[in-house]
């Protein structure tokens, strides 16, 4: 079963991190990628640019385009891992390995994938 592990990022929390905590997070993501690649559960990961760079095409006859994220919120999707695991329990187990889960105010959202298609998949 495929799951999307979404890094829910709070910029205020990120800004307040110490250099040490930043390093911990970077090293932790590298270790996570290595571990899930080694286990054959890793499919892909993408890190997304800051919401300031986002544009939205709004539905409707006119299809207006605005700058900024879709939802005005404290948190936004910073990036995600697409993994293929045996059970939901394993997806949760892996999510807990992501270093963001050590930082109060950050979170990992776990969503099951219903349909897959793509160049490599």
């Amino acid at each position: 079963m495929k799951y999307l592990l979404i890094m829910q990022v709070n910029p205020a929390v990120l800004e307040a991190l110490t250099e040490e905590e930043n390093k911990m997070i970077m090293d932790g993501h590298e270790a996570f990628m290595k571990a899930t690649q080694e286990s054959g559960e890793f499919i892909l990961t993408q890190a997304l640019a800051d919401p300031a760079n986002t544009k939205v095409v709004h539905g409707g006859g006119v299809a207006a385009v605005t700058d900024g994220p879709f939802l005005e919120a404290k948190e936004f999707m910073g990036g995600f891992y697409l993994i293929d695991v045996e059970t939901e329990e394993r997806a949760v187990e892996l999510a807990k390995l992501i270093p963001d889960t050590k930082v109060k105010g950050l979170a990992i959202e776990i969503r099951p994938v219903m349909f897959s298609a793509g160049a490599d998949l």
């Binding site: 079963m1 690649q37 293929d84 045996e86 897959s116 298609a117 490599d120």
Partner: protein
């Protein structure tokens, strides 16, 4: 022999050859590489020079030579006792080959491996599918699947052949998983998924040929044939799901049905039936009925009761509830479902809501039915299934 026939021959011989080499030398990893090279050599040479008189022997010899070459060039390796003859060995007697292929299957389906690893390794080593083909079938990148297979091979290096009566059921379970993956696939190009069901049937046929006396092997093969027979009618051209009662039975594969029915009939005449045989018997009743209404539901109910006792499982109970409704009316079926409400294994599972909705519809309780269709639609991970359930709400 034409190129396609040579391909098929090589795929059939590959597990036997691998099994022979592993039996002689151990080192699954190295043997696999050597066999791959021998197969490649054969696929290049045989179309040009003709298939050798003893094709299996040829492959064993060539693969054996590759192995010794490999070991000789590894200076750090310990001295190993090599027992490879340099003359083409005659095809060893059938019993030996039988043992080797079965042993290979037992190894690939080792209980210490996770189910996805068992499936991937079986398709690779016994099925002869390429890593790319397997990755494609499971909609993961090739590198992910390659790593999974590599890891599985590493793991079984340290394990001995599984012993004991559970090892054949383990193999059957893996074959069943492969079939199910192909049959219930809901995403990706259809073609690849059909490859999986065909592969599952082919491998199960082989096991059946190897252990013809085993009722559960025959039962599983019959179940696959009888289920696969309906494949053409399960989806519309657009990919929408068609439930059993709406399928165009004229388009079911009669040849598959006849084969499956003959097989299960023969098998049931033997010993007491196991779960696969019971499921095959139920499938046979469905496949032989001209319409849903003319289906022998009382007989199906008897079989589900047996199955529920033999291998209790909430999914079986769900099917039993449907059969109960067809025999004793929808309220009786709904009463049976109530017993599942407390079952943690199935609580919140979309099928519980879907079956309940179906029975409520039959009972004329349409408003309640719609509620449960809605819940089921939210919880299913299958797109065609979800679309079907949403249509039931509006339709």
């Amino acid at each position: 022999m034409r190129s396609r026939e040579i391909e098929d021959l090589l795929r059939r011989l590959a597990p036997r050859v691998l099994g022979t080499l592993v039996r002689r030398h151990g080192q699954f990893d190295a043997c696999e590489d050597a066999v791959q090279e021998a197969l490649l050599a054969a696929s290049v040479q045989w179309p040009a020079e003709g298939v050798p008189k003893e094709p299996a022997g040829w492959l064993v010899t060539v693969a054996g030579r590759r192995l010794t070459d490999q070991w000789r060039s590894e200076a750090a390796r310990r001295q190993r006792e090599l027992n490879v003859s340099t003359d083409p060995s005659p095809d060893e007697d059938l019993t030996r080959h039988v043992d080797d292929t079965l042993k290979l299957l037992f190894m690939c389906c080792h209980p210490e491996l996770s189910a996805p690893s068992q499936v991937a390794l079986t398709l690779r080593a016994v099925g002869g599918l390429t890593t790319a083909e397997i990755a494609s079938a499971f909609l993961v990148p090739e590198s992910t699947m390659a790593q999974r297979i590599s890891r599985a091979k590493q793991k079984i290096k340290g394990l001995g052949f599984p012993e004991g009566p559970e090892r054949l059921p383990a193999v059957l379970h893996v074959l069943y998983l492969i079939f199910n993956e192909g049959y219930n696939a809901t995403s990706g190009p259809d073609l690849q998924r059909v490859e999986l069901t065909a592969e599952a049937i082919r491998l199960t046929r082989e096991v059946h040929a190897l252990v013809p006396a085993d009722g559960e092997v025959a039962g599983l093969l019959a179940l696959m044939l009888l289920t696969d027979a309906r494949r053409a009618t399960r989806t519309t051209a657009a990919g929408a799901m068609v439930p059993l009662e709406e399928q165009d039975r004229g388009r079911w594969d009669r040849a598959r049905i006849d084969e499956g029915v003959a097989l299960i009939t023969r098998t049931l005449a033997g010993s007491a039936p196991g779960p696969y045989q019971l499921q095959a018997a139920i499938a046979a009743i469905h496949d032989e009925a001209p319409t849903t209404e003319e289906t022998d539901w009382p007989q199906i109910l008897v079989l589900y009761k047996l199955l529920d006792r033999m291998a209790p499982n909430p999914m079986v109970t769900l099917n039993r509830a449907i059969a109960t409704a067809m025999v004793h009316g929808p309220e009786a079926g709904l009463d049976l479902l109530a017993s599942l409400d407390e079952d943690k294994r199935v609580a919140g599972h979309y099928r519980l809501d879907a079956v309940r909705a179906h029975l409520l519809d039959l009972a004329g309780r349409h408003e309640e039915a719609r509620e449960h269709y809605r819940e089921a639609a939210k919880r299913t991970f299958s797109l065609p299934e979800r679309e079907y359930l949403l249509r039931k709400i509006s339709g």
